[in-house]
C-alpha cells in the first residue's frame, strides 16, 4: 500500500467516525472508578437508545472533563457534587448536601446549559489515609489527632488536590498539619505505593479506593467536617437531552442504582483482580 492509498483510507476512517456526531459522547475522568462508570453509561445507553454512544473516557482530571463538557466534546460524564461546586463551578465551599446539590444544579444550568442530577446512590469523598500500624502507635483516629500527635508529616497528594480550592491550601487551614514544607506532589496513581513504601505518611485518596479495604491502611475521620459532600451525579448537556428524547428516561433508570459498597467492590475487582471496566459494566447493565 503506497502513501496515497494509506491517506485515503485514513480519511475515509475519519469521515465515518465523524458521521456519528448526531449521536452521543460519554465522558469520564482518568481513574478506575470513572472508567467503570463511563463503561456503565456507555453500555446502558447503547442498550436503551439502540445505538452505541461514542466514548471519550479517561480525560485527565476534573477541570479537563468540565471543559470538554462545556465545549460539547462530550455530552455527559459522572461528577461528584463537591468537585462540581468548587473545582468546576468555582463556588465557595458549602457543607450541607442539599444546599450543594441545588447550588450546583442552578449554576450549571444558568451558566452552561448543563443539567445536573441523577444521583447514582453513593458518595466518594476525599479520604486522608495513613499506615494502620503507625496510627495505632500514635493513637490517631481523626484528622485533629493527626495535627496534635505528629510534627513531621510527609504528605503525598496528586496535582489536582494540590491545586483545587477544596484541596490542600484550604485543608491545612482547617487542619494545620506540621509538614516541614514536605508536601510530596505526585501522580495520583502512585500515592498508595508511596504510602506502602514508607515514602509518605499521609496521602489524599478517595473513600471508594480499594486500597481502603487493605488492612495496612486507615482512613482518618474528618472530625471538623472540612470536606463538602461528594455525591456522585451526572452532568448532562441540555442540548443532548433535547436532541435525544429517550436519554432522560434511560438516565432515570441509573439513578440510585449503585451503593458505596458496590462501587468499592468494583474498584477492587478492577484494581486487584484485573477485571476490565467493560466486563464489570456489562454484568451490571445486563441485570439493570
Amino acid at each position: 500500500m503506497d502513501r496515497r492509498q494509506a491517506l485515503h483510507l485514513a480519511t475515509a476512517a475519519l469521515i465515518t467516525s465523524c458521521s456519528r456526531t448526531d449521536n452521543l459522547t460519554v465522558g469520564a475522568k482518568n481513574f478506575t472508578e470513572q472508567d467503570i462508570l463511563g463503561e456503565i453509561l456507555t453500555r446502558h445507553l447503547a442498550k436503551q437508545l439502540g445505538t452505541p454512544p461514542k466514548q471519550r473516557l479517561h480525560l485527565g482530571g476534573s477541570f479537563l472533563a468540565h471543559q470538554a463538557l462545556i465545549d460539547g466534546a462530550i455530552d455527559l460524564y459522572p461528577e461528584y457534587s463537591g468537585t462540581a461546586l468548587t473545582a468546576c463551578l468555582k463556588l465557595p465551599l458549602v457543607k450541607d448536601a442539599k444546599q450543594v446539590f441545588t447550588q450546583v444544579k442552578q449554576a450549571y444550568s444558568s451558566r452552561h446549559k448543563i443539567e445536573w442530577g441523577w444521583p447514582l446512590g453513593f458518595s466518594n469523598t476525599f479520604a486522608m489515609v495513613m499506615r494502620k500500624d503507625e496510627a495505632d502507635k500514635l493513637s490517631i483516629k481523626t484528622l485533629s489527632d493527626a495535627v496534635r500527635q505528629r510534627s513531621d508529616w510527609r504528605i503525598g497528594v496528586g496535582y489536582e488536590f494540590e491545586q483545587r480550592p477544596d484541596g490542600w491550601r484550604s485543608f491545612v487551614q482547617s487542619y494545620p498539619l506540621k509538614t516541614g514544607g514536605n508536601l510530596r506532589t505526585m501522580d495520583l496513581g502512585l500515592i498508595y505505593r508511596a504510602l506502602g513504601a514508607n515514602e509518605a505518611d499521609l496521602v489524599a485518596g478517595n473513600s471508594t479506593d480499594p486500597a481502603l479495604t487493605d488492612p495496612r491502611f486507615l482512613a482518618l475521620d474528618d472530625d471538623l467536617n472540612f470536606f463538602p459532600p461528594y455525591e456522585t451525579c451526572l452532568a448532562v448537556r441540555e442540548a443532548a437531552l433535547q436532541r435525544l428524547p429517550n436519554l432522560r428516561p434511560a438516565l432515570d433508570k441509573l439513578a440510585g442504582s449503585i451503593s458505596v459498597a458496590q462501587m468499592r467492590k468494583w474498584n477492587a475487582q478492577a484494581v486487584n483482580e484485573h477485571m476490565s471496566p467493560g466486563a464489570i459494566a456489562s454484568a451490571f447493565v445486563e441485570k439493570l
Binding site: 485527565g60 482530571g61 496535582y159 489536582e160 510530596r184 506532589t185 502512585l190 513504601a197
Partner: protein, 205 residues
C-alpha cells in the same frame, strides 16, 4: 521546592545533566566492551531496547518500593532518566566503533600499538562524532522526558505541566512547555557546535 520558572528550569537541567552524565559513564565503556564481545553485546543492546519500551509511570511504580534507588523524589527520577538515556549513547558509540575499518586497526597493531593505545589514539577519536551525536540525542530527548519527574515529586518543569493539565490552565502548561523546548534547542545547538569543532579539527590542514 520553589515554584518559580527559573528555579524549576535549573532543577530540570540538574535532573537531565545527572542522568545523561551517569548514562554516558556507563554506556560508552559498555559499548566499547560490547564491540569486542558481539554476542554479549547484542544482549545488552536488547536489554536497553526493552527498557526504552516501558512507560515511565510503570517504571516509577515498579521501582518506588526498592531500597537505595527507590522512593519519592529526585533519586528515582534521575535513575529512570538514566535508564532511558542509555540506549542512544550505547547505540551511537557502537555505531562509531563498528564504522572503523579493520585495516586501520590492523595497521595500528602492526605499528606496535597496544590495545589501550589503539583505543585511545585511533578508535575513540574516530568514533567521536558518532559518540557526540549519541550524547546529543540522549540530552535532547531527556530534556523532554524529564517532565515525568514531576510524577514522583522530583520537581523540574514537569511540575508546571502537571499543574496546568490538572487545572486546564494554558498559561501554566506553556510556562512548563516553553522553557523545556528552549532548553532542548539550546542543548541541540551546543552539541551541534561540538560536532562542528570535532569535524574541523579532524580535517587535514
Amino acid at each position: 521546592m520553589s515554584d518559580n520558572i527559573l528555579s524549576l528550569t535549573l532543577e530540570h537541567l540538574l535532573l537531565v545533566s545527572l542522568a545523561v552524565l551517569a548514562a554516558s559513564l556507563i554506556a560508552i565503556p559498555t559499548a566499547i566492551w560490547s564491540q569486542r564481545n558481539p554476542r554479549a553485546g547484542s544482549l545488552v543492546l536488547k536489554l536497553t531496547d526493552i527498557i526504552q519500551t516501558i512507560p515511565s509511570l510503570a517504571l516509577f511504580g515498579l521501582l518506588l518500593p526498592l531500597p537505595l534507588i527507590g522512593g519519592i523524589g529526585a533519586k528515582l527520577a534521575v535513575f529512570v532518566l538514566f535508564l532511558y538515556a542509555l540506549l542512544p549513547i550505547l547505540r551511537n558509540t557502537l555505531l562509531g566503533l563498528d564504522g572503523i575499518s579493520a585495516e586501520i586497526r590492523e595497521s595500528a597493531i602492526a605499528l606496535g600499538m597496544t590495545p589501550i593505545q589503539v583505543l585511545r589514539e585511533i578508535e575513540i577519536p574516530l568514533a567521536a562524532p558518532s559518540i557526540v551525536a549519541g550524547l546529543r540525542i540522549a540530552t535532547v530527548t531527556t530534556i523532554g522526558t524529564a517532565t515525568v519527574a514531576a510524577a514522583i515529586g522530583a520537581g523540574g518543569l514537569g511540575v508546571l505541566l502537571y499543574r496546568g493539565l490538572a487545572t486546564v490552565e494554558t498559561e501554566l502548561l506553556l510556562a512548563g512547555a516553553l522553557p523545556a523546548a528552549a532548553l532542548a534547542i539550546l542543548a541541540d545547538q551546543l552539541f551541534q557546535w561540538i560536532e562542528d569543532k570535532l569535524s574541523t579539527s579532524r580535517r587535514p590542514r
